[in-house]
């Protein structure tokens, strides 16, 4: 009995430590910084200055204090609720978007070995799909419960869009599973540490370049950010599905969007950029482990940066263009990619 207790306690303690280190410190930390960074970054690349007025005395820190000012403002503002028949749904919708976005990080391997993964399940990527597809409920229920026509139209758009792109994103990743023969993210990451022909890292992006582009595109569409933000479409729909949200409700929605950016970065890193592996560096020494964790975080931040730059570079697509891109272009390319991968794999096995 005593032994069982100890084991259980150990597991709980380890999980908590990993959760605090990875999710609370890294994910939430980066998401908070992103709320400032996105505004500042977009400003600078659009020849503006961006937020720089929040200050404590004469300390402005380039607007960094907006990260502090925002929560204070969000918490003290009026939390408006529209006259809706579904006030409960209206209130829980932000949570429905927020919680799945956070839960998914449980299976991301951020370092070598089981010690650096909150929960090691052999289903890895399926878990990610299952949970993150719940995300659509948050937005759609929020839009529905807002009792507002703009919200409703926005909600309809994103529900159709997210479900369409889920198909393409799933198929685009199948090639990866075929190559590495596993659904376990830790496995996939470790396999990418090998070298092909002695010099080329066996990263997903090298073996499956088409799938990488498909993944990135579909993931941005899943996250409903520009150029796929027709659900929000300020020009037509005020703010689309979150028109009625203010104060903390809005903040939680916005934060879950940023968390999802990081999630896309993490999954993309794990599947396509070699996860925590560094080409040509193997070993169990503690400094190698630290370097590998650093590599994972760096690659993730790189993908976050790429998403942000794409978001501020491209104009919004029309809604029919998005649906056509999803069903008539992304899906066939993903299927074709799958077929070609299968054929090549068969040839390699025969040879």
């Amino acid at each position: 009995m005593h032994l069982v207790d100890n084991v259980l306690l150990n597991i709980v303690l380890m999980t908590l430590i990993k959760f605090a280190g990875f999710v609370l410190a890294f994910v939430m930390g980066v998401a908070t910084v992103l709320t400032w960074a996105e505004r500042k970054y977009s400003a600078l690349l659009q020849n503006r200055i961006g937020p720089n007025r929040a200050n404590i005395g004469s300390i402005r820190a380039g607007g960094l204090l907006h990260m502090l000012a925002d929560p204070i403002k969000m918490l003290t503002k009026e939390d408006f609720a529209p006259n809706t028949p579904n006030p409960v749904l209206f209130r829980i919708a932000p949570l429905l978007a927020f919680v799945p976005a956070l839960v998914v990080f449980a299976v991301i391997p951020f370092g070598p070995g089981e010690g650096f993964q909150i929960s090691n399940t052999s289903l890895g990527i399926l878990f990610i799909f299952a949970i993150s597809s719940l995300n659509v409920y948050g937005s759609v229920i929020g839009a529905w419960a807002s009792n507002n026509k703009w919200s409703l139209i926005g909600g309809l758009r994103i529900s159709a869009q997210m479900i369409s792109y889920e198909v393409a994103i799933g198929l685009s990743l199948c090639g990866i599973f075929m190559i590495y023969g596993s659904l376990d993210l830790q496995d996939i990451a470790a396999r990418q540490g090998e070298l092909i022909w002695g010099f080329l890292p066996a990263w997903g992006v090298v073996l499956q370049p088409v799938a990488f582009i498909l993944y990135l595109t579909c993931a941005i569409a899943e996250n409903k950010r520009a150029p796929f933000d027709v659900g929000e479409a300020e020009a037509e729909l005020t703010a689309g599905w979150w028109t009625e949200y203010s104060a903390m409700g809005f903040a939680v929605f916005a934060l879950s969007e940023f968390i999802e950016i990081i999630l896309i970065g993490c999954v993309g890193t794990t599947l396509f950029l070699g996860g925590w592996t560094i080409p040509g560096l193997h070993g169990d020494a503690w400094w190698i482990v630290v370097l590998e964790i650093g590599a994972f975080l760096f690659k993730t931040l790189f993908l976050v940066w790429l998403q942000m730059t794409i978001r501020w570079t491209l104009p919004r697509f029309r809604y029919d263009q998005i649906m056509r891109l999803g069903w008539r272009i992304m899906l066939p390319i993903a299927l074709l990619n799958l077929v070609v991968t299968g054929i090549v794999l068969t040839f390699i096995e025969r040879a």
Partner: protein, 185 residues
């Protein structure tokens, strides 16, 4: 007139959009780098600290001009109130002792929230009594009432006008003084 529209026919590489996206990313990144330290292309004017100069013909808040004795030049003729397309000028006239002028406003109020700053009042005025050349713009207040500028408020921006006023008699008596030239009003 019929006009030939030249439709672009992008080649496949352009249309596939993949390379174009990365070109765009390169462009925005270059712009970011240019602005990161040197702020080379930043066009922002930090408004309350820096202001762009107004043009001389900028129409700002109204001001009521003054006579040499610091009384208001307005003779309550109602021409501005009549010309005003926004109907935002309220004038209540009163008699004054000067027989050459006869009237003055006892109340002169402009609702700045309704005013569209068209300048018609300024053009209509026969006495150069109202002008929009104060250069004051953006007049915040906490209540709507504070947006109704009364005569004292409007006169506080005023200054003496060089135009003459009061018909033949008065123009005569002013002859020789610095402000006395008649200017065709």
């Amino acid at each position: 007139m019929a006009k030939v529209v030249n439709r672009m026919h992008p080649d496949f590489a352009t249309q596939s959009y993949v390379i174009e996206v990365f070109k765009g990313v390169a462009l925005t990144t270059r712009q970011f780098a240019r602005n990161l330290f040197a702020r080379k292309d930043v066009v922002t004017v930090q408004y309350p600290d820096d202001r762009r100069p107004y043009t001389p013909r900028f129409r700002g808040k109204h001001r009521l001009m003054l006579r040499d004795d610091k009384s208001v030049r307005c003779v309550a003729c109602m021409l501005c109130a009549t010309a005003c397309p926004a109907n935002c000028i309220t004038i209540v006239a009163q008699e004054i002792d000067d027989p050459t002028i006869e009237k003055a406003p006892s109340r002169f109020e402009i609702d700045l929230l309704k005013c569209i700053y068209c300048g018609f009042c300024e053009e209509a005025c026969p006495c150069d009594a109202i002008r929009l050349d104060s250069g004051v713009h953006s007049i915040p207040s906490f209540t709507r009432r504070d947006q109704k500028a009364g005569v004292i408020n409007l006169m506080s921006l005023g200054s003496a006008s060089i135009a003459s006023q009061g018909g033949e008699h008065r123009a005569h008596s002013h002859e020789g003084t610095a402000h006395g030239q008649s200017s065709g009003h």
